[in-house]
């Protein structure tokens, strides 16, 4: 009995320790491999079932993303103009939009492989870039896929993703700013809602 207890607590300790000490590159590697393993086996996602891809992303990927930070980055200085309710609405809508986009990209996955570039972080660093590369089958130029992570508490959270140098977050900056200039914060919330609704409708049709 004592032995069992010891074993149990050892396991528990091992579990929590590894969750805490997971380095940012190991986190990206684990999540990438886990998600792609599922996509490779899932014929529905491969044939364009966005809904299923969204479920996968929500379960496996979302917990490691910091959407508030992403929304702040995309809003730049307009973020401060928004009140708490507007900030929440913006974050929720932007999250939906990014998840949908990311999921759509997953349904386009064919048989590319991911290369993980060497990663070294200086001790004490809390803001890092983890670089990966998508290798196309047959050759052609690799596509760089970079993750920017920030340490919040014990865990690392992704706050930006760059595909071939194009940030999926800051690419919205100009269009968000233009929308806020013309129609205010609420106008931007509305146009995000409208975009998400039309995306929803399109995926139901399929």
């Amino acid at each position: 009995m004592k032995f069992l207890f010891a074993l149990f607590s050892a396991l528990l300790f091992a579990g929590s320790a590894s969750a805490q000490e997971l380095s940012p590159d190991a986190l990206i590697k684990n999540v990438t491999n886990e998600v792609l393993d599922i996509v490779r086996k899932d014929k529905e996602i491969q044939s364009g079932n966005t809904r299923k891809a969204i479920e996968l992303v929500e379960g496996k990927v979302l917990p490691h993303f910091n959407f508030t930070r992403m929304t702040q980055l995309a809003m730049a200085r307009d973020w401060r103009q928004a009140n708490a309710a507007q900030q929440k609405a913006l974050t929720d809508e932007f999250r939906t939009l990014l998840v949908r986009t990311y999921s759509k990209a997953l349904t386009e996955y064919k048989n590319q492989t991911i290369d993980f570039r060497p990663f070294t972080a200086k001790p004490g660093e809390t803001d890092v870039r983890v670089r990966t590369e998508i290798k196309q089958s047959g050759a052609g130029k690799n596509i760089e896929l970079d993750y920017y992570l920030e340490k919040s508490g014990a865990a690392w959270k992704v706050y930006d993703i760059e595909v071939g140098g194009i940030s999926l977050v800051t690419n919205y900056r100009e269009s968000f700013a233009a929308e806020v200039r013309n129609n205010g914060i609420d106008g931007l919330v509305k146009s995000l809602q409208a975009k998400n609704k039309s995306g929803e409708a399109a995926s139901v049709k399929k």
Binding site: R77, K141, S167, Y172, A178
Partner: protein
């Protein structure tokens, strides 16, 4: 069918320009995009051309030809490109990269069966992406205004000059007889377009306003390419954020103590956009 492809292309470009001029040149105040009205008209024209002709053909091409054949076509043209990429790397003073590119051409043109197989990549010689626009950027020439060119699509003023040289130096465009050249140009266009089909769907899903999404993606991409994947991280965003309270704090707390500090990030933002212009 005596009219050559270039003549047809020229008339399309001229027609497109006319549409743009008719649409007028409204401005939006974005310093990177001073002729947004014209550009939006051009963008709509290009989108129309794409959805009416290029995209359907590319879809047909993708449906009819098996994937290995399409990869072969892509590789064939990519191999011709490598020569030109090597020259641009030389012009940028990146000698090892240039030798890498010439090595790729040597290997792929022979063992790779005239470029159809990309053996060099398997052997560890990495594929690069260079053009005259990037070379000018490397030399310190700034972006200039963003401009959407009929048929060719988004460019900056600098990259437009680059494009003229790209076309002048393009082995495919200079190929004779003209009939083979035209066929090759069409095939290359269709092949390139087919490779972009998956990205299409993602952009449709992502963009609030497709015009500005494509514009900003283009500008970010070019910046990244000129710096070979390591552009200096834009600081203004982080400077802006660092002044904010922890994420969990209620947003109301932003308005108080930070009001006095808010002019600093605004200045930083303006400085950044000026730097962006002169780049």
């Amino acid at each position: 069918m005596k009219t050559t492809l270039t003549a047809q292309l020229k008339s399309i470009v001229v027609a497109g320009m006319a549409v743009g001029v008719l649409a007028g040149c409204a401005t939006s105040g974005n310093p990177k995009d001073p002729i947004e009205g014209f550009n939006r008209a051009m963008f709509a024209f290009n989108e129309g051309l794409d959805s009416a002709i290029v995209k359907p053909v590319a879809k047909g091409y993708e449906a009819v030809l098996p994937s290995p054949v399409r990869t072969g076509v892509t590789n064939f043209f990519a191999n011709i490109d490598d020569l030109f990429i090597g020259v641009n790397n030389l012009l940028q003073g990146k000698i090892p990269q240039a030798f890498n590119d010439f090595g790729r051409v040597a290997i792929n043109s022979t063992i790779g069966l005239l470029g159809v197989l990309d053996v060099a990549s398997e052997a560890g010689l990495e594929k690069h992406e260079e053009d005259f626009g990037q070379t000018f950027g490397r030399w310190g020439v700034g972006n200039g205004a963003y401009v959407v060119i009929p048929v060719f699509g988004p460019r900056t003023a600098r990259d437009t000059v680059g494009l003229v040289l790209d076309v002048a130096a393009d082995p495919v465009a200079n190929h004779r007889p003209k009939r083979t050249r035209d066929a090759a140009l069409v095939l290359r266009t269709i092949s390139d377009r087919a490779n972009l089909l998956p990205a299409d769907k993602v952009v449709e899903e992502a963009a609030l306003d497709k015009y500005s999404y494509m514009r900003d993606a283009y500008l970010q991409r070019r910046r990244n390419l000129i710096h070979d994947g390591n552009p200096p991280r834009e600081v203004e965003a982080n400077a802006d954020i660092e002044q904010m309270a922890p994420l969990a704090a209620p947003a109301d707390s932003f308005s108080g103590p930070r009001a006095s500090a808010s002019s600093v990030p605004v200045l930083a933002l303006q400085a950044e956009s000026t730097v962006g212009n002169s780049q």
